[in-house]
């Protein structure tokens, strides 16, 4: 039996007095062996990041380890001096973080930032440091190491920055790598590459990895074993295969069942006779930048978009960040002006109408946004938010309120909650309220712009089910914007894949998932984590 590199036993970390529970983490124990990848999975607030930070001594000041021990190759880290911890960081424990955009110092070159590790922990000469840094940049498969060395973080893409972070964390070959959701902020294709890189490097050096994630797909892809956290308590821990294919704890079962599957379920065909609610023809959105040096430049955020949605149908637009999928949503809802083309809402072209002439269209088209925390005015009760629309169109307050109560029941919230404020609701509840607000207008077309992306997987599943129900019962047309193929597979009748502002593939969901045609679609499919894994159902 090899000695574990990291051994956490009976760890309890207290939350500050005003926290929503007593402990962030309650008597958690697990080991990470050399060369093993342990995935710590949990929803937001489960305490998984707190554990990660405690292992490298970077806990926020408000959090205190109350009891238990964290041993690195047998050496106790709880209560050890700050100096000792500093010596260990990067030499024996490396760490990478979630946000590659902000985790690097913007005013230092990437090379200097990696070199800083060597400056701090070694006595290498300047020349040797440089060689080693360049060498490491090469090992993380970044092109043109010399140029990368001189580059500032903002000149690199998110994936490249994450590679620089990995280079920094691993240059001294630590025995333990802590990765705190390192791919969560990345696009799916980039995520696949970074996961592959982590796997490759830790395999070579037999590094133990503590990998924090909320995504069971990533777990399936990377983990040797899994520990599932719920509200700071470890509910299940075993090899990845066992946990994913045969979960024991009901919470794990629920989580795994919530992971959307890649295969679209059987769906009823939308009859051709159904009314065409949305039709765009050659829709363009161009942004003009006028710079003195470069002159007038045009960038097309969306070009030549032609889509159709019938009553009762859901069209998904899938794409990575910057693909222009949200631009399409905002054009269709006329939150931004349209450069060219037609947008027909139930046959009426709204592309060129002035804002003040859009009254009729605003009734018919409603949108639900991504961020549940910013979509509701924090100073207004949710009742006020829901009745705002109907009252704009002449409904009396009394009538609007009684409708709002019905809508609250429809979205499965307590109707008495109408006079509460948004901060009194959780993220999933707020998203339900946003849906209720949209439905209060009795729209024909509902646009969901990444509406479930910010939610935990179990909440996501519930909100998706709600959207499905509503679409069926009200026969809404729905435009569903998402970056997540699995989510699209679950709710869409047809799917358009966007890349660089263009639709590269547009087909019925069933067809698209069974037999993708375009190279880009195929690469998206290939990159989706956990795609080949058979999850328990």
């Amino acid at each position: 039996m090899t000695e574990p590199v990291l051994s956490v036993s009976d760890l309890t970390i207290a939350l500050p007095e005003d926290g929503d529970r007593a402990n962030a983490v309650t008597s958690v124990s697990f080991d990470v062996k050399p060369g093993e990848v342990l995935c710590l999975v949990g929803e937001s607030g489960s305490g998984k990041s707190v554990i990660a930070f405690s292992c490298i001594g970077l806990l926020a000041k408000a959090l205190k380890v109350q009891s238990g021990s964290i041993k690195l190759q047998g050496e106790e880290l709880v209560g050890v001096s700050e100096d000792r911890l500093r010596d260990l960081r990067c030499t024996r424990i490396g760490m990478i973080f979630q946000e590659p955009m902000t985790a690097l110092n913007p005013v230092m070159t990437c090379g200097d930032q990696i070199e800083e590790v060597l400056l701090e922990h070694t006595n290498y000469s300047a020349a040797e440091r440089r060689t080693r840094v360049l060498n490491m940049i090469e090992q993380v498969h970044l092109p043109d190491p010399d140029r990368m060395y001189r580059s500032y973080p903002h000149q690199l893409s998110g994936g490249q920055r994450q590679r620089i972070m990995i280079a920094m964390a691993l240059i001294l070959e630590p025995v333990l790598l802590i990765a705190d959701e390192p791919t969560t902020a990345l696009d799916v294709t980039t995520q696949a590459q970074i996961l592959k890189l982590i796997k490759e490097l830790q395999g070579e050096k037999q590094t133990g990895v503590l990998f924090i994630t909320h995504d069971f797909g990533v777990v399936a892809e990377l983990g040797d074993s899994v520990a599932v956290l719920r509200q700071g308590e470890l509910v299940e821990k075993d090899t990845t295969h066992k946990v994913l294919s045969n979960p024991q704890h009901p919470y794990t079962k629920m989580l795994i069942a919530s992971v959307p599957k890649h295969e679209p379920p059987e769906r009823k065909l939308i009859p051709e006779s159904n009314k065409l609610v949305l039709k765009t023809e050659g829709l363009f959105k161009r942004y003009v930048t006028n710079t003195f040096s470069l002159g007038r430049q045009e960038v097309a955020a969306a070009s030549d978009i032609s889509i159709e949605i019938r009553k009762g149908e859901t069209l998904g637009i899938v794409g990575e960040s910057g693909s222009g999928k949200s631009t399409v949503a905002r054009c269709v809802t006329r939150l931004i002006d349209i450069s060219d083309g037609k947008v027909l809402i139930s046959g009426e072209d709204i592309a060129k109408k002035a804002q003040r002439d859009l009254g009729d269209m605003r009734r018919k088209v409603q949108i639900v946004f991504q961020d549940p925390y910013r979509s509701l005015n924090p100073r207004r009760t949710i009742g006020q938010s829901i009745i705002e629309g109907p009252m704009n169109y002449g409904t009396s307050r009394k009538e609007a309120l009684s409708e709002a109560r019905e809508l609250m029941s429809l979205v499965e919230l307590d109707p008495d909650g109408l006079d509460r404020y948004p901060h009194q609701f959780s993220g999933g509840q707020r998203q339900r309220i946003c849906i209720a607000r949209a439905l209060a207008m009795k729209p024909e077309l509902l646009v969901a712009d990444e509406a479930v992306s910010a939610l935990d997987v179990s909440v996501q599943k519930q909100v998706l089910a709600l959207l499905e129900d509503i679409r069926n019962s009200m026969q809404l047309a729905m435009l569903f914007i998402t970056h997540d193929l699995r989510v699209a597979a679950q709710v869409c009748d047809s799917v358009a894949v966007m890349s660089n502002g263009k639709i590269v593939e547009y087909a019925a969901a069933k067809e698209l998932f069974a037999n993708p045609q375009h190279e880009y679609t195929k690469s998206l499919f290939e990159a989706a984590p956990g795609r080949h894994f058979k999850f328990a159902t």
Partner: protein
């Protein structure tokens, strides 16, 4: 870069045009007749009318405005109503003392405030932090002339360490020049120390919460190194910005300080000119001060590119 510079220089023009217009309107539309002022109490209505024609005040307003703008563009600020000297030469006489006072003040302020603010942020919540922040509120609240008189009374009148008032040009000896500037600059620098120290603290604190500071800690760097190497460099942009904003307050402060310490600079000149309704001089001085403000802020904008590689024009 050059293109940006050109564009920025061009963008200064509308601002200055607005300033020139405001100054013109302010002087012409407010009640009070400079001709009557200059002519004195004994003047007859005819005398005043004659003087008005001489001074160009008899023309209709739009014509006056046209002449005024034309002269400004040519760099001709005209002649003082009183001293019958070119305004430019009068301004030139006052630049030395004012510039000395302003530079001395800014240097003192930055040298004291940036380290204080950084330390306060580093030791957030400590007695040092509280003292610096407490001083900063007080510094905002004490008017510069009160500080000036307190310093004069105790250090000059009571202890006799410094001359009470006055100024000595730099070419008459650098020691005497600096010696006489110590009190006025100290008085004037209080508000800037307060302002800059507070801004430094805020920006350093903010930077210390950034993700890359956590990264630096995860690398095993000591706190002091993180503060100097990572935090201060990143906090530089807001600190420099506040120094730019402070220039406006500095100019205002200079006027009062020169009055308290009897320094024959542009501030005293402005006060005299305004009270005597010496239009050409007032116009020239206000425009000059505005140009200084605009140019310094332009320079600061350009400094950003050195401080932050993300900003490229």
């Amino acid at each position: 870069m050059w293109a940006y510079l050109t564009r920025r220089l061009l963008s200064v023009i509308p601002v200055l045009l607005v300033v020139a217009t405001i100054v013109f309107l302010m002087l012409r539309l407010t009640p009070g007749d400079p001709a009557a002022n200059i002519a004195g109490d004994a003047a007859t209505t005819e005398d005043i009318a004659k003087l008005r024609v001489e001074l160009g005040l008899a023309e209709p307003l739009p014509v006056q405005f046209g002449i005024y703008i034309k002269n400004l563009v040519q760099g001709d600020f005209g002649e003082s109503f009183y001293y019958k000297r070119s305004v430019i030469s009068m301004v030139a006489d006052g630049v030395g003392p004012t510039l000395s006072l302003a530079l001395f003040t800014i240097v003192i302020a930055c040298l004291v405030a940036v380290p204080l603010g950084t330390l306060a942020a580093y030791k957030q919540g400590s007695w040092l932090d509280r003292t610096v922040m407490g001083f900063s509120v007080v510094g905002f609240s004490v008017p510069v002339f009160v500080i000036g008189y307190v310093l004069i009374y105790f250090l000059s009148v009571k202890l006799g360490w410094f001359p009470v008032q006055g100024y000595q040009p730099i070419n008459e000896g650098i020691v005497g020049w600096a010696y006489r500037l110590i009190l006025p600059s100290t008085a004037l620098s209080v508000i800037f120390i307060a302002l800059i120290a507070r801004m430094t603290r805020t920006s350093v604190l903010e930077v210390l919460n950034e993700d890359y500071i956590r990264t630096a800690r995860a690398k095993g760097l000591a706190s002091r190194k993180i503060l100097l190497k990572h935090a201060l460099r990143n906090a530089a942009v807001p600190i420099v910005t506040i120094i730019g904003i402070a220039i406006g307050i500095l100019i205002s402060g200079v006027v009062v300080t020169e009055s308290v310490f009897v320094i024959p600079g542009l501030g005293l000149l402005t006060l005299d000119a305004i009270q005597g309704r010496d239009y050409p001089t007032v116009q020239a001085l206000i425009i000059l001060f505005s140009v200084v403000y605009v140019v310094i802020n332009l320079v600061i904008d350009l400094l950003y590119t050195l401080l932050d590689p993300r900003i490229r024009y």
